[in-house]
Symmetry: C2
Subunit: 240 residues, 2 copies
DNA sequence: AAAATACATATTGTCTACATTAAACTTTTA
DNA sequence: TAAAAGTTTAATGTAGACAATATGTATTTT
């Protein structure tokens, strides 16, 4: 048995984050406070705090008197993503190469090992979350509280979009996924060496791979999720 | 009489933001939930939601079982600020010039008019908040949800630091403040014209003015605010 | 006298119950 | 029959009371 030392509230936050990132909770879906409070075994006031925090982190959007909605992804979202991503990724990766501590590099290597395993035999969620964690650690290495907020928001949507890229059933994408994993190894090498310029260049190249994939399979239809509350559609509400 | 249509909670959020930005609540100071709830006439649960939201926005930092602390400013904070600011300001200003709507330009002009008034006869808080609002509107013009979070965090510390620059008693800085206001007019002109390249350049120039000022009067001592709770120092707690 | 422990106090964290608001349904009227 | 108004219902928003945790103080022991 694993005695989870985390508080129920912390578990709730982390689980909701995971469910949003893996699109178990789809973009645009409205959440039911009472239902979530029951699920995570806490009362509504602390759950509402959790939702406020997740709103601050960009996972959900709060509407007054109408509850919390999983952050929608519109056509504009994707366009803005394409504008912001290369800049933020390049900047944070450069800073990571300049500031990374040995302990952080170890952590990044462990994360990459797990990511390789996921690419080999994991499901889409494991892979996408593994990738998110990898880039999140690079963000921590950059150690800049002014860039981190934007990086975190980018990673939310990058991960959600990536669920398609990392789908094991898309066999033809396997080579690209291997390439992405190989680039992760390059990240580690350059960060460990402290080669900031090369790291920044690699970040852009890594981004271009993502960009090409996203453009190839994301159509406006698939990202235009209905924003309104689905009337009576129970399975679109809550976190099962 | 002004019938304030905003909810008490909204007023609370906005007032706390203002107090943090103007350093009425100094960096590092701990907040008392009960006291704040009394002041704003709401109970603790909704106040705790407010604090979570402000934490998400970067105004405060939450410590488990130890309450909320006004976001500290350390030496590292300032170093990171110098790294991130030019990049984010240039990018958002460029996007603003590309995307600004006529209505937004009108809003920006109105803001600039008020800012001029504040420079002429206002106090430090009015000036600093006016400047914050000006750049916040440019951020809205950029209309990019991935860059806005970093911009907002930059503006928090830029405004707090700016309280020194905008102090009316520092007469020798008057010419520099006029220059800053003149640059704001240039921003408006370039954004209205849609000259993205020139706008981005101006953003960097405007930043260099700030940077020079900050470097000239910010010494490590003055930004190293004690992080611990001041024991029994009643006036350092709460929002009077 | 100094350190450690036990106690007291104050603050944070949470829960239940209630108030308020928005949505859905029903009923009435043109 | 269709539209509009009233009513019902279910969700969000809030308050007050209680529980748990941390800090400060006093006491005890070495």
């Amino acid at each position: 048995m694993d005695t989870d030392t985390r508080s129920k509230k912390t578990q709730c936050i982390e689980d909701l984050r995971r469910k949003v990132l893996t699109e178990v909770l789809e973009p645009g879906v409205y959440l039911d406070e009472t239902e979530l409070a029951d699920i995570y075994g806490i009362s509504r006031p602390p759950l509402r705090e959790v939702l406020r925090q997740l709103a601050g982190e960009g996972y959900v959007v709060l509407h007054e008197n109408r509850g919390a909605q999983v952050a929608p992804m519109t056509h504009k979202t994707l366009r803005n993503f394409f504008v912001a991503a290369p800049m933020i990724y390049a900047a944070t990766t450069r800073l990571a190469a300049e500031h990374a501590t040995p302990a952080q590099v170890v952590k990044l290597k462990e994360c990459q090992w797990a990511f390789r395993q996921a690419i080999k035999s994991g499901d889409a969620a494991e892979r996408a979350l593994g990738n998110e964690r990898f880039h999140s650690i690079i963000g921590e290495m950059a150690d800049n509280e002014f860039l981190m907020p934007s990086l975190r928001r980018l990673l939310i949507d990058h991960t959600r979009i990536g669920m398609t890229f990392y789908n094991p059933r898309k066999l033809h994408l396997a080579p690209q996924r291997e390439l992405a994993a190989d680039q992760h190894d390059e990240f580690i090498a350059l960060i460990e060496t402290g080669d900031a310029d090369a790291a920044a260049d690699l970040a852009v190249a890594h981004w271009e791979l993502s960009r090409a994939q996203i453009e190839s399979f994301v159509t406006p239809e698939s990202i235009n999720i209905p924003l309104g509350r689905a009337p009576g559609a129970a399975e679109t509400r809550g976190a099962s």
